[in-house]
Symmetry: C2
Subunit: 332 residues, 2 copies
DNA sequence: CTGTTAGCGCATTCAC
DNA sequence: GTGAATGCGCTAACAG
């Protein structure tokens, strides 16, 4: 139960702990015989270096934190996996943290990152202001914000142009089905949400249809949100001819309701999603949606983080926008 | 950049580090005024206790590791989230680790758990033998294996009765559609996979149809696996009347192919899944599948782990089987 | 090529 | 109610 330490190994092998340390780190040459002997002893004793002690000594944990709002939205696992694919080979581990879009969780994780002296954080924030990331950067933690840029800081950012993308789908719907349109948004406060809402309103305004406030519903970024939203919409006197959903899961919920009521999609109501996750091609009808490449977003975030962690880049924040694409399938 | 330590706070506040330590731990009474003063100073300086140092001193990290084979299969995020819901309130953090069902990753993570002196591990292993968990338990790490029990150890286990469940769906299909049946399995070696295969064969044998080896395909536990499997099956001279898929994602892929070829499900081919994840009710036709409650599995695993970590339980391994249920929908 | 030693930041025992 | 001193296990000067 008492774990084997480097000292036990040194003692058993009849060498100093320094030598054992160097056998493992390779930071200085060790006599081949001694080396092999030490390795044998370590093996026999079942020695595992204590990563905690090493972290304390080196003040680096070789780990990063990936903070996401909803791990059950498959967009995020795909994205997270992609980050891991980038930073893993460089020797970094990662903590995948789920906030459920709660402010308290967001703050707690950020605090944790500081307490644990993590090397980096890739953050998708829903509640907390960008400013909350500053203290981390000041502590020397590399951070990539997924979303808006953080001014005057060394914080990098990656995002999609959510506003433009949503305006694009909205325009597509407007052109095809006219001005009877609604948006089921995912969240009142989250930046992504606001961006998408703005895009929706931009397009409506451009089209000449002053966007009715009542045309925007705030539900959750999930299937249940879509169900609630669509139900509300269909209870109206004049249900919309087309519905923009702030993500694919919402769209799935909306389609559920529409079909349940015997409405044909898109003949009776057109419905679009956002993200283009796997679901998009599994539902019937297949979703017309915005392809927002999660893996690519993750890869880019990982790359930014990595170059900063290794010191390859050390200037002001870099800001990259991942291109999106409207994918027209069957739901609109 | 140089982080504030407990010493900085003590110095600034004009007290000893002992006092500061106790202000934060509450492990011994501190004069109220002193306490408030210290807290103010700490606040002002932006002090964050160093979790690494604390871990080293206390030799506990208050962290567990959740190891899953495929984070993009929504079964696992749901399951993991559920574990977190159980252990989080008790003050434990968790690392969510994705192995992609690779042996090397499985071993690496297990090693990591030892190196980092984690308090617990909840393990879904696909490649590595149960025996690989023993060293962890010997190091005093609490472990819950999701799958088979580990004999003569303090390792708990949770599982579904995969064999019985698969036999059940298979029998259902056999009764309804006769002996022309096939299995698209997910993996050649994984224990879950073997269990499900055995269940399939049990049912076939019972039915009197000696299971043809050729009736079992080994693909991946994902949509692409289902696509490959179904394609192979349909190229046969006499394609099966019913197809058991080892999980829902495989079933989705299989349905994709069937429909593409103009086959009606279930009129031309019946298809079943396993897990009953969200997808199951999103595909058309809705999946007939085995409801394997991921969140419940996670909650139970979390509970077992927690009671062991807190010392509430400290005997031999406990083994719990989570009930499953055949859910008949539209695909068979 | 190898060993001695001083911390990394904290919790805690022992003294006051 | 408070402080001084020790050590958790490791790495990296520094010294041979």
């Amino acid at each position: 139960m008492a774990r084997i330490t480097i000292e036990d190994v040194a003692h058993e092998a009849g060498v100093s702990i320094t030598t054992v340390s160097h056998v493992f780190s390779g930071h200085r040459p060790v006599n081949t015989e001694t080396k092999e002997m030490v390795e044998r002893v370590a093996q026999r004793l079942g020695y595992r270096p204590n990563a905690i002690a090493r972290s304390l000594r080196l003040s680096t944990s070789q780990t990063i934190m990936i903070v996401v709002p909803d791990i059950t939205n498959s967009f995020y696992p795909e994205y997270a996996r992609s980050i891991q694919d980038v930073i893993g080979p460089a020797g970094y581990h990662s903590l995948l943290c789920n906030t459920d879009a709660r402010e308290r969780e967001e703050l707690t994780f950020l605090d944790e990152a500081r307490s644990r002296r993590l090397n980096g954080v890739v953050f998708v924030g829903f509640r907390v202001s960008n400013e909350a990331l500053r203290p981390l950067a000041e502590d020397g933690i590399c951070v990539v914000n997924v979303g808006e840029a953080v001014d005057d800081s060394k914080i990098d950012s990656v995002c999609f142009d959510d506003r433009a993308a949503t305006a694009e789908v909205t325009r597509f719907l407007l052109d095809r089905y006219g001005p009877s349109i609604a948006l089921i948004d995912g969240d009142g406060e989250a930046p992504v949400s606001r961006q998408r809402r703005d895009g929706f309103e931009d397009a409506c305004r451009d089209f000449g249809a002053a966007p009715d406030d009542a045309a925007v519903l705030l539900e959750g970024f999930n299937r249940a949100g879509g169900v609630r939203g669509m139900t509300t919409l269909l209870e109206r006197e004049r249900p919309p001819r087309a519905v923009v959903c702030a993500n694919d899961m919402i769209a799935v919920g909306a389609i559920d309701v529409a079909r349940e009521r015997g409405l044909r999609v898109p003949e009776d109501v057109a419905i679009t999603g956002f993200d283009d996750v796997d679901l998009a091609t599994i539902v019937t009808p297949k979703l017309t949606t915005v392809h927002a490449d999660g893996p690519r977003l993750g890869a880019e975030a990982g790359r930014l983080l990595l170059t900063r962690m290794t010191g390859e880049h050390d200037g002001a924040g870099r800001h990259v926008v991942i291109p999106h694409e409207l994918v027209v399938r069957d739901s609109a």
